[in-house]
Amino acid sequence: MPSAAAFTVLLVEPVDLLRRTVSMTLRSLGTADVTEAPTYPTGHQLCSRRRFDGVVVALDWPHAGEDQKGLTLIQQIRAGDCICPPTTPIAVLVESCNTELLHVLRSCAITRILIKPFRVRDVIDTIDAMRPK
C-alpha cells in the first residue's frame, strides 16, 4: 500500500455516523487521511484552501436544493477553481440516480457513483481505489 499520509481525501457528507466511521476507519487502516466536511460551505472552504488527492461528495441532503450545491462544488473542482487539480478523482454518494443525473455526473468525469443502500465498506473501497497503484 502507498503511504497513507500521502493520500488525502475530502469527505463531504452530512450524516455524522457514516462520515465519522469512514474517516476513523481509513485513518486506523492507514489507507488515507480524511478531512471531514459536514456541510457544503465547509467543503467549499476546504477545497479553496487545501489540495486533496480525492474527493467524495454526498448529493443527498436534508434540505431541498442542496444537491445542486454538491454539483456546483464538483464543477468548480473540474473547472480548476479550487486548489485541487481538475483531474482529482471524485466519487458521489446518492439516494438514486436517474438518466439526467447520470448524464451530469458523466460530464463531470465522476470516478464512482455509490447508490444507497451502500455500506461503509463500499465507501472505503471506493477511496482505496482512488489511490494510485
Binding site: 452530512p14 450524516v15 455524522d16 455516523l17 457514516l18 465519522r20 466511521t21 476513523m24 476507519t25 486506523s28 487502516l29 443502500p117 455500506r119 461503509v120 465498506r121 472505503i124
Partner: protein, 163 residues
C-alpha cells in the same frame, strides 16, 4: 473475571447507565452496525456483576441475560475484538444455552468498551446465527463504531451520531 473487576464495576455503576431508558444516539449506532455487517443482532452490552444488560439492542427481545452465559464477559479481558467464528466449534461456547437454544448464536464479535484506565465496561457486539468471519477492514469498521460508542458514553452531552 478481569483482574480489575472491582474498579471496572465501580466505573460502570458510577456512569449511571444500567437500567436506564433507550437513547436514540446509541440506538442509531447498533442499527447502523447491524446494517453494515448484515447481522440480525447487534448490542451495546454492559457487563454487571451477575448479568449483562443491553443499553442498545437490535434483534433481541430480552434486555439482559446472566453473566454466566455471556459471550461479552469473555471480551473484557483484552483490548482486542473477541471473534468467535463458529460457537459450535468453540469449547468455551458450544454448550452455551444461547448457542444450543434461542437466539442460536453461531458467530460473535465483541469490541470491548474501554474507558478510562483501561477499564472495559461492556462491548459493542455483533451476533449472527450462521458461522462467519471478519476481515481486516471489517474489524477496523467495528472498532471505529466501538470508539464512537465510547465517545457517546463518555460525552453524554455530545451529539456525535446525529443522523
Amino acid at each position: 473475571m478481569p483482574d480489575n473487576e472491582q474498579e471496572r464495576l465501580a466505573l460502570l455503576h458510577a456512569l449511571l447507565l444500567l437500567d436506564t431508558p433507550p437513547e436514540q444516539r446509541l440506538d442509531k449506532i447498533v442499527e447502523f452496525a447491524s446494517t453494515e455487517f448484515e447481522v440480525p443482532i447487534c448490542l451495546i452490552s454492559l457487563v454487571d456483576a451477575n448479568r449483562q444488560w443491553f443499553k442498545a439492542r437490535v434483534g433481541l427481545a430480552v434486555c439482559e441475560t446472566g453473566r454466566d452465559i455471556s459471550f461479552c464477559a469473555h471480551a473484557l479481558g483484552s483490548d482486542a475484538v473477541l471473534v468467535i467464528p463458529d460457537a459450535l466449534q468453540d469449547p468455551r461456547f458450544h454448550d452455551n444455552p444461547l448457542v444450543t437454544g434461542a437466539p442460536h448464536i453461531r458467530f460473535y464479535a465483541g469490541a470491548p468498551l474501554i474507558l478510562r484506565d483501561g477499564l472495559a465496561i461492556g462491548t459493542l457486539c455483533l451476533i449472527d446465527t450462521r458461522p462467519r468471519t471478519l476481515d481486516t477492514v471489517a474489524l477496523a469498521i467495528l472498532r471505529s463504531l466501538r470508539d464512537l460508542v465510547v465517545m457517546e458514553l463518555t460525552a453524554p452531552e455530545g451529539d456525535i451520531a446525529d443522523a
